[in-house]
Subunit: 224 residues, 2 copies
Amino acid sequence: MKKAVILLSGGLDSATVLALAQNQGYECYCLSFDYGQRHNAELAAARRVAMALGAKEHRVATIDLAAFGGSALTDAKIEVPVDGVQEGAIPVTYVPARNTIMLSFALGWAEVLGAHEIFIGVNAVDYSGYPDCRPEFIAAFERMANLATKVGVEGAQLHIRTPLINLSKAEIIQTGASLGFDYGLTVSCYKADLQGRACGVCDACRLRRDGFQAAGLADPTHYQ
Amino acid sequence: MKKAVILLSGGLDSATVLALAQNQGYECYCLSFDYGQRHNAELAAARRVAMALGAKEHRVATIDLAAFGGSALTDAKIEVPVDGVQEGAIPVTYVPARNTIMLSFALGWAEVLGAHEIFIGVNAVDYSGYPDCRPEFIAAFERMANLATKVGVEGAQLHIRTPLINLSKAEIIQTGASLGFDYGLTVSCYKADLQGRACGVCDACRLRRDGFQAAGLADPTHYQ
């Protein structure tokens, strides 16, 4: 069975990625991070999602992103914006080097497992302001990863899979729904409470609600 | 003053890098990792070195490399070899994706600081068996880093500096010594005791002792 490492946040996008990878016959090793994020209810959601979708294993790695600050998601001194996404600007919810760091951990685990595939739910449509969600970043990471590890040295190819990169939020939701996945298990909100209930007003909540509307599906989100 | 992030392990190589960067006029922000390594005495050495060389700041980030195992340095079930370096093989002391992960954290901190330089003491001579010590890996990481971050998007160039990459251990030691650095502060041993005293027989100890001999300098290492 082909092994894959899946970056799983507990949100809607990465849950869809896991559903897709399971559907494609991969043995899925899910990796989540406790990085001092405010929305820690995501980790509980990640555990629910991994179990519901039948992942082989789920690990949570603790990493110190908060040590550097610089983002509304990890630095208590920066406010999470609730007044919509600004066009063209890099949002304050951007966490410096987050995807690079998470992919690097996935790379380490992939090497130990002998997995040649890493799945990540980056999306260049809704998160166009995040430099590390762009296809050119992913391609550069993949190239680097093949030089960084034994796998690459020994001649096998390591691939970074981004099945959502060009999908709209509505298309992502339709994909997961067509596989029978229950999005009520996921938490997207940047300011979710301890029970995982969403605030309804942050950027992530807006994108998610608009996504269900555009997909023509009922929104299963639990709001505060 | 130009800012630089310096990856500092407490060993001989990264201490030399810090001495060089300080000498080149950088304001140095040192980053060490607590990754469950057996030779934790390295972190105490890193603190001594950062202070002795006048670094601006020194942070220790805790990361979960041990969660994946796969290396003699992080997995208690794998023995640290004491019978010399094998030609051509990747040593069991290789930690999967370690340099990728550490450089990724440095990248995040560099972005928050507005630093455009990251220094790392990789060496392609003595550690030719480690895929992530090769110049082609560093070049690919730098390229990826410029796509991963705001710095790159905003047009500035981020550089990964590897001043030791083509130096022999003797040349590294001569470099630090010529800058007046006291290598007695550093710990290289994979099996150092709590006081930082070296075992004298692991690969790292052999390389270090041979280096002082070839450099024609007295070995200031504290042995057990």
